[in-house]
């Protein structure tokens, strides 16, 4: 796979800085309006979109706090509206409270919410938790045929990638970009970012140069895109292009996103600046603890990686991984929990997780590329922790070293 990216003409979009100004102006206006008219569901829907953008593109974790407050207000003032419950389900999904989201959808249906909005939200939940995936796949395909919007095509691409159908994933993402009719730099940046993740993290072996290209395109559309900066910085760190990575991270170093501090810590460690590295690692730890305290389910999976690596707390990683797995039994959730169980030297438990994963996801092409595929027949002499990533094996930086220094 890998369509030559130079053969693709990327569509123009509204300048990212202008779009960001408009995003903030709409957000401000909508909060003003909802204070006066808490029953205006159109404004609530707009607020959900705008706050999600803040969370996803700017790493603003407080956006999730505001969304939960909005959900309370919404149900207080529109308790008889089915559409209000669909919106509440959307908010619950965004903070990964999928059980609650499902309950809201039941209420929404009882209150007469439209079949279309119920379907869309149920699809989103089922996709996120890995439930009923055949139906999810069929529906995503159908929606993309009927309405090939960027949103539908990127969602289908993500599903293909999760299934291990990488060429189809790439094709769907590229269609989303080249056939874009939305013109939104947010949406186009998101599609480019997904391609970056596909080439930089999902494919085996990865294709860092292609991933770099797509992350850079994402940033050309939306310069402050926090996740894209973090992922691109990670590529540069892997290639020891430390100054380039630093240039990407410095503008967002005040972000609440804990991964920013985490990458900064890795960067300074590679530069040999232990004091700076420890400072950022301590900050990353505090940030993870803070966001987990507020939205544990939403950040559990990201935090597992951290606690398995520099966070140096495999027990906490396992606890979070199991929380995440109970919430959404996706292949990725099995991989994380399996990895955490091995890190905790709970080999039997890890094997039971692998067995469950095989039963649920073994038929997918993605499973062949999964760390769990080797766990299906573990070598008798495999050492505990063998599945840990190279970073955690070689890194000398960890929270325990900070604690020791303190």
């Amino acid at each position: 796979m890998n369509t030559p990216h130079f053969s693709i003409t990327l569509p123009a979009a509204t300048d990212g800085a202008l779009a960001l100004i408009n995003h903030e102006s709409i957000l401000d206006r909508c909060w003003q309006t909802i204070d006066l008219h808490p029953d205006r569901l159109g404004i609530v829907a707009q607020l959900i979109d705008e706050e999600y953008r803040r969370s996803h593109f700017l790493g603003d974790a407080s956006a999730l706090d505001r969304l939960l407050a909005l959900s309370e207000t919404l149900l207080q003032h529109s308790a008889k509206s089915g559409e209000a419950y669909v919106l509440a389900a959307q908010i619950a999904s965004l903070v990964h409270k999928f059980d609650q989201a499902t309950q809201y959808l039941v209420q929404a249906k009882n209150l007469g919410a439209s079949a279309h909005s119920l379907l869309r939200q149920q699809l989103s939940i089922d996709h996120a938790i890995g439930h009923n995936w055949k139906a999810v796949f069929e529906t995503r395909q159908r929606l993309s045929m009927q309405s090939p919007t960027l949103q539908n095509l990127v969602a289908l691409g993500a599903l293909y990638a999760e299934m291990g159908l990488y060429q189809e994933a790439e094709h769907s993402y590229l269609r989303a970009i080249t056939e874009d009719r939305e013109h939104s730099p947010f949406s186009l940046a998101w599609a480019c970012f997904q391609l970056g993740v596909l080439f930089g993290e999902t494919l085996e072996p990865t294709q860092p140069a292609t991933a770099q290209y797509w992350y850079e395109q994402a940033l050309s559309y939306m310069p402050p895109y926090t996740h894209a900066r973090v992922h691109l910085a990670e590529l540069h760190l892997d290639a020891r292009r430390l100054d380039t990575a630093l240039k990407l991270l410095l503008p967002i170093q005040d972000s609440e996103d804990p991964e920013v501090s985490w990458r900064m810590a890795q960067l300074y460690e590679q530069k040999g600046e232990a004091h700076e590295a420890n400072h950022h690692l301590a900050r990353a730890l505090r940030s993870f603890e803070r966001v987990l305290g507020r939205h544990e389910l939403a950040f559990a999976d990201h935090a597992v990686d951290f606690y398995l690596e520099e966070g140096d707390n495999p027990e906490k990683a396992l606890q979070l991984a199991m929380l995440n797995l109970d919430n959404r039994a996706t292949l990725r959730a099995f991989e994380l929990s399996h990895e955490a169980a091995l890190a905790c030297e709970q080999r039997a438990f890890a094997q039971s997780l692998a067995d469950r994963a095989i039963a649920q996801w073994g038929h997918l092409p993605a499973f062949a590329h999964s760390s769990l595929s080797s766990a299906a027949k573990p070598p008798l002499n495999s050492a505990p922790g063998a599945a840990l990533t190279p970073t955690s094996q070689h890194s000398t930086l960890s929270v325990s070293t900070i604690r020791a220094e303190v």
């Binding site: 003409t9 123009a12 100004i21």
Partner: protein
């Protein structure tokens, strides 16, 4: 909502989402024609136009092709385009935030430079054409929920949009002596279309208000065809998709007709109506008078088989929703269906640029008190819009009923305040109202509600407002005193709960 958020794609980049189109002759100078288009629903005070979108008015001369069941309007080849384009923001200056610059490409290709937000706009050297672009109060005021036909107060109250305005000398621009009937649309298109893409190069377009949301999207269970419609080429719909749109319009107009249980549109007249609606543009005759009441008159008269008498068009203050739903439901053979919205947050003005400046953020005063009495007892005293219970009110008279009801208040010191009921909900023991006149604020919206508590009840009275004609401190003092006196009286009557 006119053309607001008319399709899933419009939410992705709302700065391409056209919300309204207006076309009328200037009320202060009938020799000039005015076109206004709005984008970006819910715009905040710092909102800006996209640097990669064309905001275009297209005017085509029309020929009336028939009357009655043969009613129709054929766009001719004469075309005038006014295209607004904007740039990215420059660096901030010592005098403040940078302003957005742009220009309008005029018919014939000349350009007129502009700066967004300049109230007086910009005029060509010969004075023929004047343009404006910037933040405005949303001029639209819907007062019906289309599905349930529930009458509601303006649900775009206090919203803002970005507007582009062009005013031009009618004779020298449109040569109406060759035909004075025109079709007008506004569209948003990519400024830099991708040459290798086969994507239809259009984000949105708008002709008559509510063609998409109220009409094309009101068939239960029907596919949402608004995104498709928005990408069509105005004045030249795709022949391939025409049957789809025709069928959707037939189904929708039938449903509208049935809303009052009477059938006014037989199959033949409905078919003629659909034919007219498939040619979606604002019709305007620049040689005839245009008023707030003349919207759709050209189409209606043509469909009824008689010559039209007005210039049709759409003024900023035309109550287009009520005009439309009355026509769709009872074909103007029954009562005028007055919804709950009588005017926009800020009605349009009679002078350039005709749409009012953006609404500033509102201020608010809220007072609550806990009472020993039950919610029912308290609501019985204060829940009626005409109840006389407030100590500062000497006399109160009511006019009308339900939403829109007016109360004229004479205060103990002889001042007159006029207020209009927006909505009253007995179940939640709440009513909302708007002040029309008497307090130096505009807008001014109040809410009075009673809730049950463990010890009795709680009354909350809140007012959101924007001072007008007086400073905030004075206005706040007036409102606070009014609310406070009410709360004191309630505690005296019912006793304060701990």
């Amino acid at each position: 909502m006119s053309d607001h958020i008319d399709g899933p794609r419009q939410t992705a980049d709302p700065v391409s989402d056209l919300t309204d189109l207006f076309a009328f002759t200037s009320p202060t100078d009938p020799s000039r024609t005015v076109l206004i288009a709005c984008v970006l629903p819910f715009a905040g005070e710092s909102a800006l136009f996209s640097n990669t979108i064309n905001y275009t008015f297209v005017v085509r001369r029309l020929k009336q092709t028939g009357l009655g069941l043969q009613a129709g309007f054929e766009p001719l080849t004469d075309e005038w385009r006014f295209t607004f384009q904007f740039e990215v923001l420059g660096p901030e200056t010592v005098t403040g935030r940078a302003k957005q610059t742009g220009h309008c490409v005029l018919p014939g290709g000349a350009t007129l430079a502009l700066i967004a937000g300049e109230e007086n706009g910009f005029t060509t050297s010969d004075g023929r054409i004047r343009v404006f672009a910037g933040l405005r109060s949303d001029p639209f005021f819907p007062g019906w929920l289309p599905g349930s036909m529930k009458s509601v107060p303006n649900y775009l109250e206090n919203d803002n949009v970005l507007s582009v305005v062009v005013e031009f000398d009618t004779d020298s621009t449109l040569a109406p002596q060759r035909g004075s009937l025109f079709g007008v649309i506004a569209e948003t298109t990519p400024r830099y279309p991708n040459p290798t893409s086969n994507v239809i190069p259009r984000f949105d377009w708008v002709g008559r208000p509510e063609q998409t949301n109220f009409i094309m999207n009101q068939v239960p269970g029907g596919l949402d065809v608004r995104d498709l419609w928005n990408q069509e080429t105005p004045f030249a719909l795709s022949a391939e998709r025409l049957p789809l749109y025709r069928q959707r319009l037939i189904e929708s107009l039938q449903l509208w007709d049935k809303k009052d249980q009477n059938i006014e549109w037989d199959a033949a007249s409905l078919k003629a109506h659909v034919n007219v609606r498939l040619n979606d543009f604002l019709t305007i005759d620049v040689a005839k008078p245009i008023s707030d009441k003349s919207h759709l008159e050209i189409e209606k008269s043509t469909l009824e088989g008689r010559p039209y008498t007005t210039g049709g068009g759409r003024t900023v203050n035309a109550n287009v929703i009520d005009i439309l739903v009355t026509w769709l439901i009872n074909r103007d053979r029954g009562a005028f269906l007055q919804g709950g919205a009588l005017q926009a947050t800020q009605p349009g003005s009679t002078t350039f640029p005709y749409v009012r400046p953006g609404n500033k953020n509102m201020l608010s005063v809220t007072q609550s008190t806990a009472l020993k009495a039950s919610p029912q007892e308290v609501w019985q005293v204060i829940g009626g819009f005409g109840n006389l219970w407030h100590p500062l009110i000497a006399q109160l008279t009511l006019t009308g009923e339900g939403s829109g009801q007016l109360r004229r208040i004479e205060t103990v010191d002889g001042k007159i305040i006029l207020e209009r009921l927006s909505e009253r909900d007995e179940a939640s023991k709440t009513y909302r109202y708007a002040m029309v006149n008497g307090i130096p604020a505009n807008p001014y919206n109040g809410t009075l509600s009673v809730q049950a508590t463990a010890t009795g009840s709680s009354v909350t009275w809140s007012v959101s407002y924007r001072p007008e004609g007086q400073g905030d401190l004075i206005v706040r003092l007036i409102i606070s005193s009014l609310l406070n006196a009410g709360m004191v009286e309630l505690k005296r009557r019912f006793g304060a709960a701990p």
